[in-house]
């Protein structure tokens, strides 16, 4: 079965620091990759997604992620975080043949200090 690993459970940064959150998945076939974000008291919402094409994907609010197939990774990055980026971030994968089934990582809580 597929699995998704997020190695950073809790990250604390100061404003303007750069962010990189790791995500690795285990599946040898074609996958689609997602980052979801959950701001305090709000729904899970999509940050960005990769289906095919350019492996560097740009999302909302200045976030981007790079799909490295050889490393089974889809790390999330932002050059300069803001206090408003404080949230929990989830990496997710779905696989060819069963695109309805999402596998989620355990999440990374990001606290940005003003």
């Amino acid at each position: 079965a597929q699995s998704v690993s997020q190695h950073n459970h809790h990250v604390i940064l100061s404003e303007a620091a750069s962010l990189e959150l790791g995500c690795n998945y285990s599946y040898g076939g074609t996958v689609n990759l997602f980052w979801y974000v959950q701001y305090p008291g709000q729904h899970l919402q999509l940050l960005l997604k990769y289906f095919s094409g350019d492996p560097l994907v740009k999302g909302i609010k200045g976030f981007e992620a790079e799909f490295i197939k050889s490393k089974f990774s889809f790390n999330l990055r932002k050059p300069s975080v803001q206090w408003s980026d404080t949230a929990e971030y989830f990496c997710a994968v779905n696989a060819q043949g069963n695109f309805n089934k999402f596998y989620f990582g355990s999440g990374t809580k990001l606290n940005v200090k003003p």
Binding site: L44, N100, S106
Partner: protein
């Protein structure tokens, strides 16, 4: 994108009782999904609910414990039966975005936070 609401938003229940969670979507959707997010853990798919057929349950989840109804294309319920403290969790409803592209993303409801004493 779909707008999804859930009721109740939270509840505190006694061991051995049951709770039914409602999920309402503002548009017709074919498939609805129920997830569980236990404290400190990732989201885990419980079942997929299609209108007009029985729900499909993932490994580790059974209909007797988590009966699901899907009476129409905009509504579903999940019941957590004979609850124990281990059922304390956030339960989320989601729907898929059939935008015509592959790799459908999912939209999530606000969740129901359940605490079982």
């Amino acid at each position: 994108s779909a707008v999804i609401s859930q009721k109740p938003s939270r509840d505190i229940c006694q061991r051995g009782t049951s709770l039914t969670i409602q999920c309402q979507v503002d548009s017709q959707v074919t498939m609805m999904f129920w997830y569980r997010q236990q404290p400190g853990q990732s989201l885990t798919l419980i079942a997929t609910a299609n209108q007009g057929s029985e729900a499909t349950y993932e490994s580790g989840f059974v209909i007797d414990k988590f009966p699901i109804s899907r009476p129409n294309l905009t509504f579903s319920t999940l019941t957590v039966s004979n609850m124990s403290p281990e059922d304390s969790s956030i339960y989320l409803c989601s729907v898929e975005d059939l935008s015509g592209r592959t790799g459908n993303e999912q939209f999530f409801g606000p969740g129901t936070r359940l605490t079982v004493l």
